[in-house]
Amino acid sequence: MSHVEFDPRQYEHELDRREDHAPGDEPQESAGHWVRNYVIGLGFAAILTIASFWAAATHLIWGPAVPVAIGVLAIGQMGVHLVFFLHITTGPDNTNNILALAFGTLVVFLILGGSIWIMTHLNHNMMPAEQLMQMRQ
């Protein structure tokens, strides 16, 4: 903690709107703005969740397309959470947050994609277990 007890927010009217914001934070707004943001987010998230559960249960969608639909809806809902709950925007004050998120997403996709890709090929190249047992005898 700083040795000077100083509340930066008392200077809020003098602060530049360009100042970086942490994710989830958004100074200089009234409570009504926050509440409206969360209500919109909840609405979108609820619609997307219901759509996901409906897609999983229905027989209207062609079978192999169901996982794709669920995946798309999940990514959409994550976007809604990031925008309306974590207040990630495209503004210049969010550059750092976006860059960190982009790097995190890259690592996540490398881990997921790489693991699934390599292990599927490995699995494909492996000899079935029964055949292996026969060779040992």
Partner: protein, 231 residues
């Protein structure tokens, strides 16, 4: 943007000096340094921003951790060793209730943060308590699911698929449990210490943590429960 009577070239030079990378959308006044705030012409960002950003980096590393568990689950998804498959152990009704509880808890957590920024202690506490109650509902439902599965013999030792299932879902459940303990601590600290600066910083971080848990749950219920239950 500016209503100064300078010629256009002077105005352009002024903008370039104040905003060399053209990050702003218009002209800005020169900021004078403010002692102790970290605000000024060249000062670092305020502590609130630095704390929140640092916690955001931690959360992204947590996403990477979960990505490893997801990758394990995806690889071992079919390795049931004659035991129950994903479609056999999923109860869609319970998952729907869990999802609703966690989404609503994320919403009430956001409302508590709106109350925090309005410096309203009562509503902050009320919404934090609601968040905690909904989180508790989620954790108890998950425990009930795990106990029910174990009673049918579907323990983590049964197959590689079940090991990956318990590791992934259990890791998220553990996060929610720890988050609930943190929430209770924050309620106590807020009650005793009030809206001090460091308490506000912790509430920023807690808010981020709770929303991040909901993001991971979205991936979890989609991949494990909905895709798994699909015929």
């Amino acid at each position: 943007m500016s209503d100064t009577p300078f010629p256009a070239s002077t105005e352009a030079l002024r903008r370039l000096r104040e905003d060399p990378h053209r990050l702003g959308h218009g002209g800005h006044p020169v900021r004078r340094a403010q002692p102790g705030t970290g605000q000024g012409d060249t000062g670092p960002a305020s502590k609130r921003v630095i704390v929140g950003y640092g916690f955001w980096i931690f959360l992204l590393s947590d996403f990477v951790l979960f990505a490893c568990f997801f990758a394990t689950y995806a690889v071992l998804h079919g390795a049931t060793a004659g035991g129950p498959t994903a479609a056999q152990i999923v109860d869609p009704t319970r998952v729907a209730i869990e999802t609703t509880a966690l989404l609503l808890s994320s919403f009430t957590c956001g409302l508590s943060f709106a109350a925090t920024n309005a410096k309203n202690k009562l509503w902050t506490q009320v919404f934090l308590a609601m968040t905690g109650a909904l989180g508790l509902v989620f954790v108890l439902l998950e425990l009930q699911e795990f106990i029910g599965l174990a009673q049918q013999g579907a323990t983590p030792q049964r197959s590689a698929f079940l090991s990956a299932f318990y590791a992934l879902v259990g890791c998220h459940g553990l996060h929610v449990t720890v988050g609930g303990l943190w929430l209770a601590t924050m309620m106590a600290q807020l009650q005793v210490k009030g809206f001090r600066r460091e308490i506000m910083h912790r509430l920023v971080c807690f808010n981020l943590f709770w929303h991040a848990l909901d993001i991971i749950w979205v991936a979890l219920f989609s991949v494990v429960y909905l895709m798994g239950a699909a015929p």
